[in-house]
Amino acid sequence: MSVADEQHPGTAPGAEGPQPPATEPEEYEPDPRFSYANERTFLAWMRTALGLITAGLAITQLLPPFDMPGGRRLIGLPLIAMGTIIAVVSLRNWMANERAMRRGLPLPRSPLPRITAVVVTIVAVIGVILVIVEGKGS
């Protein structure tokens, strides 16, 4: 590809006329600081996943059972499942971010923060309800 075919952020696509059908988009090394930040974000998600898995294991294995059968698993299993999903999806997010930076495209939006917030909120609400119900029963 010639220099005139390059697409950078800030230049309108197709401004220089019709583009030839590109088999592979032009890529260049992004600012290494952004690649490192992307890598740290991935690692932070991995620690989040591990924390959720560990918390779910501790809830199901170490907590005294609730009166309600399956009460511990009700709040523990969603956390473990969320941690497992985060481990896989955050790797895909890292890859998508890296690719977008290499191609000068806007960073893709990820549903992962929202899903994590919703799941943790629901589990917390269920936990509060369980604790209140158990407190009344005893």
Binding site: P32, Y36, L43, L62
Partner: protein, 134 residues
């Protein structure tokens, strides 16, 4: 992953660099990573330590009501994953220091074992928590 081992010249071909503070979003000079590489090394260290702590907690703390010591197997697996993650962090730090510059970044094959290993631990934890609540 051809995306991750692109080894072309640093920056776009017109000699400038993206996402800079200038009006059109480009830098005239190559940005220096500064302490970003060191922060990334520390993030790798934290991740490895978190896995080691989790592995010890699972191996020593959790008591599954099953005869075979499944929690020890899972705990030791997490410990191995933690040691692997720590060494992978050292590998990335070594790449960063190599050639006298700070521009080496992680590749997909570096991160995938950590991600899939954690996912496997999560899947095993899910099965154990579902069928063998303590």
């Amino acid at each position: 992953m051809s995306d991750d081992d692109a080894s072309g010249p640093y920056g776009p071909p017109d000699g400038r660099f993206p996402y800079g503070p200038s009006a059109d979003g480009f830098l005239e000079e190559a940005p220096t990573p500064g302490l970003a590489g060191e922060r990334t090394d520390l993030a790798w260290n934290r991740s490895g330590l978190a896995l080691l702590a989790c592995g010890i907690a699972v191996a020593k703390g959790l008591k599954f009501p099953i005869e075979e010591p499944a929690h020890v197997v899972i705990g030791v697996t997490i410990l191995v994953l933690g040691v692997f993650t720590w060494f992978m962090g050292q590998w990335e730090a070594r790449k960063r220091r190599r050639n006298g510059h700070d521009r080496e970044v992680a590749s997909f094959s570096d991160l995938a074992p950590v991600a899939y290993g954690t996912a496997a631990v999560g899947a095993a934890a899910f099965v154990l928590a579902l069928f063998f609540p303590g």
